[in-house]
Amino acid sequence: MIEAQGLTKRYGDTLAVDDLSFSVEPGKITGFLGPNGAGKTTTMRLILGLDRPTAGRVTINGKPFDEVDQPMRQVGALLDAKAMHGGRSAYNHLLCLAQSNNLPRRRVGEVLGLVGLTSVARKRAKGFSLGMGQRLGIAAALLGDPQILMFDEPVNGLDPEGILWIRTLMKALAAEGRTIFVSSHLMSEMENTADHLLVIGRGRLIADCTVDEFIAANSQQNVRVRTPQPDLLAKLVAAAGATVREDGDGSMVVSGLDPTRVGDLAYDNAVRLHELAPVHASLEQAFMELTASSVEFHAGVPEAEQPVLAGKGA
């Protein structure tokens, strides 16, 4: 269990983490979500004692990490796949880590097999691809068979095969009853893997709930409609209080009305429908809505990419 109370970190004028309090519960995958620059990595560095908090504290099973007796048994972390000496072989990299915690030498071979790097164990890490480096980092995290695993943006830059591998691994590790704390700015990734969510923006906690709760609470119901009379239908649903957005290829997305109501409205007013389908609100959308105000660096994207037909609101 990871517990943070009033955790704050300031670098000069920048408040990277602002009064965060949360707990990461054992036995599930907790996703740590936020736009780039939200303070995810800083929070993880604070948990691991790499950075000292400006205020507040964070503990692992009740103790600050630098007071833990068996660090690698308690926590395995992958913050950065490149955090290793490129001139050292994969085997020696893992060996020096295992030795520092008095873990048996055979663990090195075991974790190398586990991540599929046995054949390159004696090769210098310098020549590894990003995916291989990531696997080596994960092997290091697994050396101590830890109860808690922390991954910072583990799928960044990986190919689809690598992403699938990591996703499967995290689920398997969670199924063994381990605590998984994984950060990402990719909502789709969290939707596929996480049980619980911690969402931060500009260093502040903005949500602490399950994935389903998060979607339900933060996104509206959407309905996709295709009709030869778009203007008429747009007026009708707008009058009923919904928002309409044109969705290219002649269809439109109605927000704020359920599919039944949209269908009934069309029938009552003799509007011909060619398609009527509920659109599953994605975590992505919910996240964008929630963090819209907390993105630190707005990229200057044009306001509305799709023309709003009527009833711009929400």
Partner: protein, 278 residues
């Protein structure tokens, strides 16, 4: 999606690792740091370069000594150890790199997330480096001495290891190199950057030594004995300084001055290391 990767994360990540296994100890940290230093090529290259340069230059100086006239103040031990003037910089570079490479590669973050007891970790690294540096320096210093004496023996200007002060000077040469290495280690940890660490080490050991030559004589007599390389160099001389030269402390107190500089760098660096964000 089909995948060729074998994913078998279950089947026991831990296999049969007992829960009690995996405690952090100083002995474990020492083993870990020894694995680190022996598993990168730069260690071997640097130590080999130090050996070659110190022994090679010592041989050249000894060979050259045979072509000059010598008075009673001629110190054949010092002559054969003349390569230490360059060797000090090479071992200093290794001292810097042993710690600065953790920062330049990012390894320090992995090191500290697997071994968060910073004091234990840095003490182990310091001890391992010091022992490796001392053993290599000892081999180097003795090799330079014996080769140098062999080259001078035909001209009857050589000395033997049993002569007064000679054993102290040869072992002292190794201690001198080791202290310079530790100074580099301290600067590397303080600055956490290879180029900055090497630059300041060369500045302190070499540039300062040259610059004091240009100071007025009266200043030199007060300053020279505190200059790290000049003070440290006293330990590998066997003869008293000739009359009229700038006064220095005796061999051991002078060596203590060099150690003081190294200790200053290391203590400052360790205090900051324990406090700073990694």
């Amino acid at each position: 999606m089909a995948t060729t990767t074998t994913v078998r994360p279950t089947a026991g990540v831990g296999l049969d690792l007992p829960r009690s296994a995996g405690r952090m100890t100083f002995a474990g940290a020492l083993r870990s740091e020894f694995t680190k230093i022996r598993s990168v090529r730069s260690t071997y290259w640097t130590l080999l370069a130090m050996f070659a340069v110190v022994v090679g230059f010592g041989a050249l100086a000894s060979y050259g000594a045979a072509t000059h006239q010598h008075g009673p103040e001629f110190d054949p031990t010092m002559q054969s150890l003349g390569g230490l003037y360059i060797g000090q910089l090479i071992i200093g570079v290794l001292g810097v790199l042993v710690i600065s490479s953790e920062y330049s590669t990012g390894m320090i973050r992995t090191t500290l997330t697997t071994n968060p007891h910073r004091g234990v970790m840095i003490a182990a690294k310091g001890v391992v480096f010091t022992v490796v540096a001392f053993v290599s320096s000892l081999v180097t210093s003795f090799a330079a001495f014996f080769l140098g004496q062999a080259l001078m023996s035909s001209h009857h200007i050589s000395t033997t290891i049993g002569s007064p002060n000679v054993l102290r000077a040869v072992i002292g040469g190794a201690l001198f190199l080791t202290a310079c290495g530790v100074l580099g280690f301290g600067l590397g940890l303080l600055l956490r950057h290879s180029a900055a660490g090497i630059g300041s080490m060369v500045g302190l050991l070499f540039v300062v030594t040259i610059l004091v030559n240009f100071l007025p004589q009266s200043w030199q007599s007060n300053i020279d004995k505190w200059v790290p390389a000049l003070a440290g160099g006293q330990i590998w001389m066997t003869k008293a300084l000739p009359r009229g030269s700038t006064p220095m402390f005796g061999p051991w107190p002078s060596f203590a001055v060099l150690c003081g500089w190294a200790a200053l760098a290391v203590v400052a660096a360790v205090v900051l290391f324990r406090r700073r964000d990694a």
